[in-house]
């Protein structure tokens, strides 16, 4: 089972994502932004970081990278794609996911151990969790406020496409405390918090994040 992890200029958590894939029992494959080729991977992770410095808008420039046209096409075809933090922002800028992420309402970057509730376990990235399960993983970003218009939000809720929600005080002003969402088909998931930083007792607050990477391996096997 091969999981591709894209490196854009300015990607930061790509090595962490690859390590998480290995710990889950998969084979990580490094993908390069300028290389319009997915090298036959079974799933793709767009990792966290500051692609192109996020100077314009988070993910705004990365979206146009050659590899993204391949990711878009494959995603339409059902390939499991997980965008974490900056990756989530790239997916929104690419219109693979609705809405957008804006500056945290408190205007500060914040790095905290965040409690989440996993609401949708039907996606290839969340099947290892039980619906309603509470997990704690790091949240670290300056522009993590999820926004979308009311209709979009209602549709996301109605179709059960809110994958994860913040528990307790809203950490960044995200509408309806949304931490992660999926596309209609469910194969494309965007997540603000960082499961790849919660995969080892030694370095993470918990190992709750491993489930995302275990899930996609199972999905690929059953697929």
């Amino acid at each position: 089972m091969r999981v591709g992890v894209v490196t854009f200029p300015g990607s930061l958590d790509d090595a962490d994502a690859r390590r998480a894939v290995s710990l889950a029992g998969g084979e990580p494959v490094a993908l390069w932004h300028a290389d319009a080729d997915l090298h036959g991977v079974d799933a793709v992770v767009l990792p966290g970081g500051f692609s192109y410095g996020d100077y314009l808008r988070c993910g705004a420039i990365a979206r146009f990278a050659p590899v993204m046209s391949e990711v878009l096409a494959a995603a339409e075809g059902g390939l499991p794609v997980l965008g974490i933090c900056n990756g989530f922002q790239v997916l929104c800028e690419s219109h693979l996911l609705p809405g957008a992420l804006i500056r945290n309402d408190h205007r500060k970057f914040n790095c905290v151990d965040q409690e989440l509730v996993v609401e949708n376990t039907a996606t290839p990235w969340t099947s290892a969790y039980s619906s309603g399960q509470h997990i704690v993983v790091p949240l670290k970003n300056g522009e993590g406020g999820y926004v979308a218009d009311e209709d979009t939000l209602d549709r996301l809720e109605g179709e059960g496409r809110v994958v994860a929600r913040y528990v307790g005080e809203n950490p960044n002003g995200s509408y309806r405390s949304i931490a992660g969402i999926a596309n209609e088909r469910g194969n494309v998931v965007g997540l603000m918090p960082h499961p790849e930083h919660a995969v080892e007792e030694l370095t993470g607050p918990t190992t709750d994040g491993l489930g995302f990477f275990v899930s996609v391996l199972e999905a690929a096997v059953s697929a």
């Binding site: 314009l56 808008r57 420039i61 146009f64 809405g99 957008a100 804006i102 406020g145 926004v147 218009d149």
Partner: protein, 82 residues
């Protein structure tokens, strides 16, 4: 050399934490009578050669696809000096 300016502002219905912070800071520094503040981005594009209708169309397209995100932002394009 000609300059075209693209202003990008968050849509009114989208919360603007930075503008809000400025609005709150102003009175503390003794500036009153300011009802609201919005903070956006200003892009100054220097063109070599002069501004043609066709290039403006190009720039509007860039404003729409790259410089702004239509989901949350509005933009305006104007020529500052041709």
């Amino acid at each position: 050399m000609a300059r075209v300016v693209v202003d990008v502002m968050l849509k009114p219905e989208i919360l603007d934490p930075q503008g809000k912070a400025v609005a709150q800071a102003l009175p503390r520094l003794g500036f009153d009578g300011i009802a609201a503040v919005r903070q956006g981005k200003r892009f100054e594009l220097e063109l070599d050669g002069d501004v043609t209708e066709e290039r403006l169309t190009q720039i509007r397209h860039a404003a729409e696809t790259l410089l702004s995100n239509p989901v949350i932002e509005d933009y305006t394009v104007h020529v500052e000096h041709a």
